[in-house]
């Protein structure tokens, strides 16, 4: 026995050597099939009991391969393992041992003699490679339709069941009939199992009894440690953050199942039930929403508001820093959803107070903002990170002073961010590249001013022309500016025209949106800390080139100023709305030609309709005071924005960090029912005032 075992060992070793040689050759480009098949041959040989079988096999192998081993002779384990009594090769191999040097030139031409025999031998063991392929395709097919047919995919047991069933899918021509039958059997068994389980589940549902089904089983096995680990996973936190928003929005939605055919219980006399309202009848204004977040709105002031151009229910508000929370980011932008009142849909941060922010009108995911540090910031709502995705550098050619006004102008395919800082720098940026401004412009006060410094506080572009804009200055004048050189005017402040009338810093300028039968795009309203709102008619940038200094139209300030201002042309306001407090913001309604709204330092929102009344507002309302604001006596409202597509809602924000949304009555907002007469009425009003001014001169 001992002897025999040794013999077998020796043969195995030889086989291994052969195998190695072949592999070597195969790796050098000879047909690979040989290498594989010889690998497979060795276990077969080892397994066979009959000694004669082995011997014949070895004979055939060794005998054939001898020429190769002589030439390529690598004298490794083979000779060591061989004993004197080993069948053939012992002596020969030890002879070869001396020819070790021949290794290098081994893998040459004569290999082909070797290849012939192994091929024959190996064919008998062919099934095994086939089997390998077979098991592989099994694994691939586990997720086939059995899952969805039989069981919901969440069940863990289903994956176990699937595996054996799948081979039916293999295009297995090589599968023997017997194997197929076996599969059929397995499948049948599985089907029964699944049916049984389904029946069990059904029973469980039917009776509602706590049978040991999967769910209750899991409930019991979950230990407190497991629970803790699960609860503290970021995944769960993120899921909850997201899913509770979904659920809250679902709760906040209007009731879709309301049955209007049934009697409604006394909700008709609206005025009593509406809560905080102002104005009367169809010119009413009503508070509908209040946005405030304990963490992110507290002790911050609202610095700007903008409605999303894409989603009507979204609006953004930017905030200044919270002085009592030095570890929170200074600047915050919150996106509020109409259906999600008590917390923001999204929050974005910045290192510095954000003074202005708005949605990109050309890309619904992007938000641009201007910071106290002078940075222009860009956030992306698709980013999970609250930090800006892009920001301008603080050094170099950008802004180094606070950016109070920012806008995006251009078209869908070619647009720029235009920002202006309080030192008079105007920069044009590309959305894709905020590393460096594409345009640089420095605004300086034109000659009649005592000093050159011009400190812009706000900016407005007309609807029609992205190369011309107005800036309101700290000193009270509104200057027309050109982005580029044009006929008769250099880029920068147009020295020939100045809109003078405000005696204190201008807080806002707004061009008429003018989407109607009559072009009112040259009308501008401005608000100022001098307790007034003023209506202006802006001269078209092209028309200003024809003006000569002598055509002074001014009624009040023009005459004494005229000698000192040889080439300056001063325009005074068409209308002056004197208010009872500082006015922080004034905006035209996007749909009604004569309607605008303003917010003041006393905390009132006023809605004006020029077609009705030019002496006093048609509606006036103060937002219901939050506890905190009431205690600190902070009522002032800073900013105002109209919802652009329908013009029915307007949002205000103030010093107390609360954003309120108001809804205006049918006569003040909404797209429907705007009569052409309203447009012509505004036009006539402007004409009448202009004529009056001309007569006064």
């Amino acid at each position: 026995m001992q002897q025999r075992r040794e013999e077998i060992l020796a043969k195995k070793a030889k086989l291994a050597e052969l195998k190695r040689q072949r592999e070597l050759r195969a790796s050098q480009g000879v047909r690979q099939s040989i290498g594989i098949s010889s690998e497979l041959a060795s276990p077969t040989a080892g397994r066979s009991d009959s000694r004669r079988d082995i011997e014949t096999l070895i004979d055939s192998l060794v005998g054939e391969s001898r020429p190769a081993s002589v030439r390529g002779g690598t004298g490794s384990p083979g000779p060591k393992g061989s004993r004197p009594n080993s069948v053939i090769s012992g002596g020969e191999y030890s002879q070869e041992n001396s020819e070790v040097t021949a290794v290098a030139n081994g893998p040459a031409a004569p290999i082909q003699t070797l290849t012939a025999t192994p091929l024959v031998t190996i064919y008998e063991t062919q099934p095994s490679p086939v089997k390998e392929v077979f098991s592989y395709s099994k694994a691939v097919q586990t997720t086939e339709e059995w899952t969805s047919l039989a069981r919901p995919r969440a069940l863990s047991s289903s994956s176990d069941i699937d595996e054996p069933t799948t081979p039916t899918k293999t295009p297995s021509k090589r599968l023997s009939r017997r194997e197929r039958d076996r599969e059929e059997e397995i499948r049948e068994k599985l089907r029964k199992e699944i049916e049984e389980e389904l029946r069990a589940t059904k029973e469980f549902i039917d009776h509602g009894t706590a049978k040991p089904s999967n769910s209750s089983f899991a409930t019991r096995t979950l230990t407190s440690e497991e629970l803790n680990a699960l609860i503290h996973s970021d995944d769960l936190v993120y899921f909850l953050d997201h899913s509770t928003k979904v659920a809250e929005k679902a709760l906040g939605e209007p009731d879709i199942l309301t049955d209007y055919t049934r009697q409604i219980s006394d909700q008709d006399d609206e005025d009593d039930k509406l809560g905080n309202t102002g104005g009367r009848g169809r010119r009413r204004i009503r508070e509908v929403l209040r946005f405030y977040d304990e963490r992110w709105s507290k002790k911050r002031m609202v610095s700007s508001i903008d409605f999303s151009p894409k989603h009507k229910e979204l609006l953004l508000a930017s905030y200044t820093k919270n002085p009592s929370a030095p570890h929170e980011p200074d600047g915050v932008v919150q996106i509020w959803n109409r259906f999600l009142q008590d917390r923001p849909e999204l929050v974005f941060h910045a290192q510095s107070d954000i003074l202005t922010a708005k949605f990109s009108p050309f890309h619904p995911n992007l938000i641009v903002g201007g910071a106290y540090s002078g940075q222009v910031l860009l956030w992306d709502t698709r980013s999970r990170n609250p930090a800006p995705v892009q920001k301008t550098p603080l050094t170099g050619s950008g802004h180094t002073h606070p950016v109070y006004a920012i806008d995006m102008v251009g078209t869908q395919n070619a647009n720029n961010i235009i920002s202006v800082s309080t030192d008079g720098a105007v920069c044009g940026w590309s959305v894709d590249m905020l590393a460096q401004p594409q345009e640089n412009l420095y605004l300086t006060a034109p000659p009649p001013a005592k000093q050159e410094d011009l400190s812009p506080t706000c900016m407005a572009f007309p609807q029609a022309d992205p190369t011309f804009f107005l800036v309101g200055s700290e000193e009270g004048t509104i200057f027309p500016c050109h982005r580029y050189d044009r006929a008769g005017a250099k880029a920068g402040v147009d020295a020939r025209v100045a809109y003078k009338g405000h005696a204190a810093p201008v807080m806002s300028v707004d061009f008429h949106p003018a989407r109607g039968p009559v072009d009112l795009g040259d009308l501008v309203i401005s608000s100022s800390l001098d307790w007034s709102v003023k209506l202006w008619k802006v001269r078209a940038p092209a028309a200003t080139s024809g003006i000569t200094p002598t055509t002074t139209v001014n009624a009040t300030t023009g005459l004494p100023g005229a000698p000192a201002v040889p080439d300056g042309y001063v325009v005074t306001p068409l209308l002056d709305f004197v208010r009872e407090d500082v006015v922080y913001d004034a905006k035209w309604s996007p749909t009604r030609p004569g309607v605008f709204a303003c917010v003041d330092g006393a905390g009132y929102v006023e809605v004006w309709d020029l077609t009705v009344e030019t002496e006093e507002p048609v509606a006036r309302i103060a937002p219901s005071q939050s506890k905190e604001a009431g205690r600190l006596g902070m009522h002032s409202l800073n900013k105002l924005a109209w919802e652009p597509s329908e013009g029915k809602r307007l949002a205000t924000g103030g010093i107390d960090g609360v954003v309120n949304v108001f809804e205006v009555g049918e006569e003040l907002g909404g797209k429907e029912g705007v009569k052409t007469e309203e447009w012509t009425a505004v036009k006539k009003l402007v004409g009448r005032i202009e004529a009056g001014n001309a007569v006064a001169v």
């Binding site: 339709e145 899952t147 969805s148 047919l149 069981r151 919901p152 995919r153 969440a154 069940l155 863990s156 589940t201 469980f204 549902i205 509602g208 706590a210 089904s213 999967n214 769910s215 209750s216 899991a218 409930t219 096995t221 979950l222 629970l227 699960l230 609860i231 503290h232 970021d234 995944d235 769960l236 936190v237 993120y238 899921f239 909850l240 953050d241 997201h242 899913s243 509770t244 979904v246 659920a247 809250e248 679902a250 709760l251 009731d255 199942l257 309301t258 049955d259 049934r262 008590d342 917390r343 999204l346 929050v347 974005f348 941060h349 999970r384 990170n385 609250p386």
Partner: protein
């Protein structure tokens, strides 16, 4: 935004759930593990969800308050979990590439808002506004 929430894990979790619970009409919230159906978090009055159950009220009468509550939670969780899986299966059958995103189950008395996720399930039970 997300990492602001993740900053203080469990607190934020309590806070978000608490806020949801404080909303008018919300009776109960349950968070389940999607694959196993294990209950991760519950809040609110689960018993009130099944206030007038045909057979249940009598059978649980003898048990103490705590026991009935946990039992009710488990039962409800199991029912919802099976319901979600059935719905998920339907969606899979309709379109294998598709995915279940939200389930709102409206009844005469209440509404179940179920938000499924590959890993978790959120169930919110709330009163329907009186029609």
């Amino acid at each position: 935004m997300a990492d602001a929430v993740m900053g203080n894990g469990a607190d934020a979790l309590e806070e978000t759930l608490g806020r949801l619970n404080k909303k008018a009409g919300v009776k109960a919230t349950i968070v389940l593990d999607r694959t196993s159906g294990a209950i991760l978090k519950t809040s609110g009055q689960i018993l009130s969800v099944r206030a007038s159950r045909g057979d249940g009220s009598s059978s649980v009468a003898g048990l103490t308050e705590g026991q009935t509550e946990t039992q009710a939670v488990e039962e409800l969780a199991g029912m919802v979990w099976n319901f979600v899986n059935a719905a998920g299966g339907l969606v899979q059958d309709l379109d294998a590439e598709d995915e279940l995103k939200l389930l709102r189950l409206r009844t005469k008395r209440q509404e179940l808002v179920i938000v499924p996720d590959p890993k978790y399930l959120l169930i919110v039970v709330h009163d329907t506004p009186p029609a």
